[in-house]
């Protein structure tokens, strides 16, 4: 039974619950928009990295370099899309 619950994954799961609890701080405590967004950005990206490396085994095969290149590319385009949109449509040149 014990071998079915590897300590690494159990710890990962507990850590992801802790990150969720930390993110909840922005709901329960009064804080500035900047402070809140900083907490959310940090917890969300750690959480995503945790899933990617620990649960999705992104680095275990010989295609490791291809997989990471592809994921980084996807994330790069995602960030450019989101920040570019915010820059032109929200933050703007007003």
């Amino acid at each position: 039974m014990k071998e079915l619950f590897p300590i690494k994954q159990v710890m990962g799961f507990i850590f992801s619950l802790v990150l969720t609890a930390v993110a909840l701080a922005v709901y329960f405590f009064d804080m500035s928009f900047t402070a809140g967004m900083t907490i959310l950005l940090v917890t969300a990206f750690i959480q995503a990295g945790l899933q990617l490396v620990m649960f999705m085994h992104a680095g275990e095969s010989e295609d490791k370099a291809h997989i990471y290149t592809n994921v980084y590319y996807g994330i790069f385009i995602a960030i450019v899309t989101i920040l570019g949109t915010l820059l032109t449509m929200v933050w703007g040149y007003v």
Partner: protein, 198 residues
């Protein structure tokens, strides 16, 4: 077909390795798909027109329930893959089944939530905000729904054929998909719900 026994079953043939790499490329495209939805959401979120704003319709309890259900299901599919690598078909199927049940529960809560939104006057056509909100949540929910059907069929195949290079490969790819949906949810939870209720 050449089977390399030094590798886990899901990687054991050249074709299997290519399928896993191919699926990662698909996930890269999915990251970009959700990025466009988030970009639109951030632009349209303040445009509530005569409809309600996020802060007045979001409820913490169902959102937190969805988050914990999905996080736990992501953990159990990880355990299923771990059991698969130990060659333990039965525990693997149990974990796989738990994952799908948690996914179904997630979907149940999401349906309740959508029903609540429509009830309080936040339907798809109410405002730019409600449109992009329901489109983003709905795209994620549609992925979960598809995953439930896909996962069920993989379970049936494992039941019929046991763990083979093919079924192990399909299971592993399904686990990638499921973890990815959890990652997307984390961003929805943080940047749509918590940001909206801040």
């Amino acid at each position: 077909m050449k089977i390399d026994h030094s590798l886990p079953l899901e990687y054991s043939t050249q074709e299997n390795q290519m399928k896993i790499l191919g699926f990662w490329i698909f996930l890269g495209a999915e990251i970009m798909l959700f990025a466009t939805l988030f970009a639109s959401y951030f632009v349209l979120a303040p445009r509530t027109g005569s409809g309600p704003a996020g802060s007045s319709i979001f409820e913490l309890t169902p959102v937190l329930a969805e988050t914990i259900l999905l996080l736990t299901s992501s953990f159990t599919i990880g355990l299923a893959i771990h059991a698969m690598r130990l060659g333990r078909t039965k525990p693997m199927l149990v974990f796989f089944g738990i994952t799908l049940i948690l996914g179904l529960a997630f979907l149940g809560v999401e349906i309740y939530e959508f029903n609540h939104y429509i009830h309080v006057g936040a339907a798809l056509q109410t405002s730019a905000f409600t449109s992009i909100l329901l489109t983003t949540l709905g795209t994620h929910g549609a992925h979960v729904t598809f995953g439930l059907v896909w996962g069920l069929f993989i379970m049936i195949q494992i039941k019929k054929n046991g763990l083979t290079p093919q079924t192990a490969n399909k299971s592993f790819i399904f686990s990638l998909y499921w973890h990815f949906l959890d990652v997307v949810w984390i961003f929805i939870f943080s940047f749509i719900y918590l940001k909206g209720m801040m």
